[in-house]
Amino acid sequence: MSFFARFAQNRGALVGLIILLMIIAMAILAPLLFPESPWRMVQRPFLPPLSQDGFPLGTDTMGRNVAAGLMHGAWVSLLIGLVSTSVALLIGVPLGAIAGYYGGLIDDILMRFTEFFQTIPNFALAIVLVAIMQPSVTSIVLAIALVSWPPVARLVRAEFMSLRNREYVEAARLVGQTNTTIILRQILPNTLSPIIVLASLMVATAILLESSLSFLGLGDPNVMSWGYMIGAARTVIRQAWWLSFFPGVAILLTVLALNLVGEGLDDALNPKLSRER
């Protein structure tokens, strides 16, 4: 069975993929449909949804177009999710690979280091990091990455530990391949499926984290992200429910879609599990 056929067997995953594609389309189409800056104050503030043409989702506290913000925000939220996950992978994968492959003292040191990071509550650490670096897209991405790499390192380490004594790895060692080649060519490609699955869930978590940070006022004020929109609308939730409702739903759908896709990938990449479902 082809990869996609296996993926599509999970109906939820298919739905998730469709939602995700729609959100990506939103992000790509944003500059075409709403060429004006989403920050522009274009109408009366607090215009309810559907009350005026061109403002299907109404306007916010300062008369900015919510629909424009939502579309532009898709781009930012996805980008923050993807980039921070990539950075987390860049930290976690090499650490986990080295710890898992070499074992022994190196493993001990790296794993103590990882545990150490996990001893400080995640969200608290993220808050402190953003506050220290001062809120900006860069600092938010870094903070999210810095609190999310330990699970990656642990996963990769576990995979490497179970694979490093596989016979094909030993065979590679026997024919004289170097450690680097073995790590990159023999083991890493075989750890990709669980990493991909984890990564898809991490993107979701990163989007949630960004929105939580924004909610506490630690978002980047220069970019319109969904988290920012909820954070900004939080004080007016009583008089303008739609301001926090739509971005909230957008986050929910995105996180939901990413999770569904993650499950689908899991099914498709790890056929053993799919039989159990």
Partner: protein, 518 residues
């Protein structure tokens, strides 16, 4: 255009005066209100920040109070005389005043507070005391202040929050900051400290031995600590909270809350401080060093929009450096009205090349964040390349203290007199790193220095007025800072809380006369 809330306030004020006349005050009851954020401590004089003032202003007192027109009225000083040369001030104290621990309040307490306690701990009192040559207790209830030279605003300096009376018998000779009584403040005010459950509530109870017969009417005041603005609004809505001091809920909540039944609003009670919001513009380097750029910023900002949308139509769009509550304001100057075209012209004239300019919002809540966004968009629309730097209180202090900014929001108190609250922003000898409250913009103009210094000690007022007029003209042209808004802070309260705001510091001492009509 008058904002609906602003109309509502004037109507409420009318209704308020009539009912207040109709009913006689009732004894008893406890008022629940809010303090935000949680104060670091309650010893006024040692700590002067807003949350401490609003709570401790009911525990401690100063020598004088001020009406909403900033006229001095008696508090601990029954009466006072000023010598003809304007250098000697004699205060006659009340005789029946005791501290909360039962000790009598005397002239020695005044001398200790002013000469020892405040000189050591209180920077704003220190600024005034540098004009004072000596402080003497001539008898148990008389204190004489002798000044080095006349100082126009001297009589405006005795407000409780700035010039608190602290008990000598508890503090003299001790390490003030580690004094054991700091946890249990002792003052002379209408309410006594009862309990402080950190993170939850500060409870004050009635001072039965208060010197004003019959006062206070209330049995106590509970200051709730609720960190989230939304929760504070809910608490007011569901009736847990009777009084919402200004700044405790977001501006966006105010119209809704003020439209509820049995809710009254007042904008009064801020005359003494007259918070004045400004945009620091770094005069030292970058595009903001160019006068034309600064003028362009003034023209580019739609301040009426901000007033209407963000401040519910409250407050005033200012004319120049002197606010409308400040003495000696020159109202003949031509206002910097919203004029993007003029802004673009000015930018073109100076040859602005699109260099990035950063803007530092004030980290004090949503309204300020939104405002920074609006200004950012205003500036972008005239072609200025702006980027907002988000920051928290610590970062904001640091950047301003290090002059590491291009544009930055702030607001300052005016304390009624230009020599107290305004000149500090423009005097060149007030340029020093490390503080966000001095001449942060780095404006240097010898003539302005000269005029301000002369005006502070000139006597009488007519002479001061002429000097200040010239200063205002120069500043208006130079635009050392952006003048954003004279802020209007509404206080929301249940209409059955009566006589709440009746002086120029409002709630800071408001519960002295307040009573419940329940």
């Amino acid at each position: 255009m008058k904002h609906p809330l602003a109309l509502a306030i004037s109507a409420a004020a009318l209704a308020f005066t009539t009912t207040a006349l109709a009913d006689a005050p009732q004894q008893g009851g406890t008022v629940n209100t809010i303090v935000q954020p949680e104060p670091p401590g309650l010893v006024l004089g040692m700590i002067q920040n807003a949350p401490t003032r609003v709570v401790a202003g009911n525990i401690y007192e100063g020598l004088l109070r001020y009406t909403t027109d900033l006229e001095p009225i008696p508090q601990l000083a029954e009466s006072w005389d000023v010598s003809d040369d304007g250098r000697t001030y004699t205060f006659h104290l009340r005789e029946n005043v005791t501290w909360h621990d039962g000790e009598p309040f005397t002239a020695d307490d005044v001398v200790f507070s002013a000469d020892v306690f405040h000189r050591e701990l209180n920077p704003s009192a220190r600024a005034v005391l540098q004009h004072v040559e000596s402080i003497e207790a001539t008898d148990e209830h008389t204190v004489v202040f002798t000044l080095i030279e006349p100082f126009g605003p001297f009589l405006l300096s005795f407000e409780a929050g700035t010039f608190t009376m602290v008990p000598e018998h508890l503090y003299a000779g001790t390490d003030f900051r580690n004094n054991e009584h700091n946890d249990h403040p002792i003052g002379t005010g209408p309410f006594k400290f009862a309990n402080w459950e950190r993170g939850t509530v500060i409870e004050l109870v009635k001072n039965d031995d208060y010197y004003e017969e019959g006062l206070p009417y209330l049995d106590g005041v509970n200051w709730h600590i609720i960190p989230d603005g939304g929760s504070r609004a809910v608490a007011f809505e569901n009736g847990t909270i009777d009084v919402l001091p200004s700044g405790t809920v977001e501006n966006f909540d105010i119209p809704r809350l003020s439209e509820m039944d049995n809710v009254c609003v007042t904008e009064e009670g801020h005359e003494y401080f007259s918070p004045y919001s400004m945009l620091w513009m770094n005069n030292r380097e970058g595009p903001t060093a160019d006068k034309r750029f600064r003028q362009a910023v003034m023209y580019a900002m739609d301040r009426e929009f901000a007033r209407n949308v963000l401040w519910n139509g409250l407050g005033k769009v200012p004319l120049s450096a002197f606010g409308s509550n400040a003495r000696f304001q020159d109202d003949s100057l031509e206002p910097y009205d919203y004029n993007p075209e003029r802004a673009r012209e000015l930018l073109e004239e100076m040859g602005y090349d699109g260099e990035e300019v950063t803007i530092l919002p004030l980290p004090y809540g949503e309204t300020w964040t939104r405002w920074a966004e609006a200004v950012q968009q205003n500036l972008r629309e005239v072609g200025i390349n702006v980027r907002t730097q988000a920051t928290d209180v610590g970062g904001w202090n640091q950047r301003l203290g290090d002059w590491d900014y291009d544009l930055a929001f702030t607001y300052l108190y005016q304390y009624g007199d230009p020599a107290l609250g305004i000149s500090r922003t423009y005097l060149s000898d007030n340029i020093a790193k490390g503080s966000p409250w001095n001449n942060v913009e780095g404006y240097e103009n010898a003539r302005v220095d000269e005029l301000f210094n002369e005006a502070a000690t000139a006597y009488p007022d007519e002479e001061r007025e002429a000097l200040y007029k010239e200063v205002q003209e120069i500043l208006h042209e130079d635009v050392p800072v952006g003048w954003l808004m004279e802020l209007g802070f509404p206080t929301l309260y249940r209409c059955d809380v009566k006589d709440l705001v009746n002086s120029s510091v409002g709630l800071n001492e408001g519960f002295r006369d307040a009573w419940l009509d329940r």
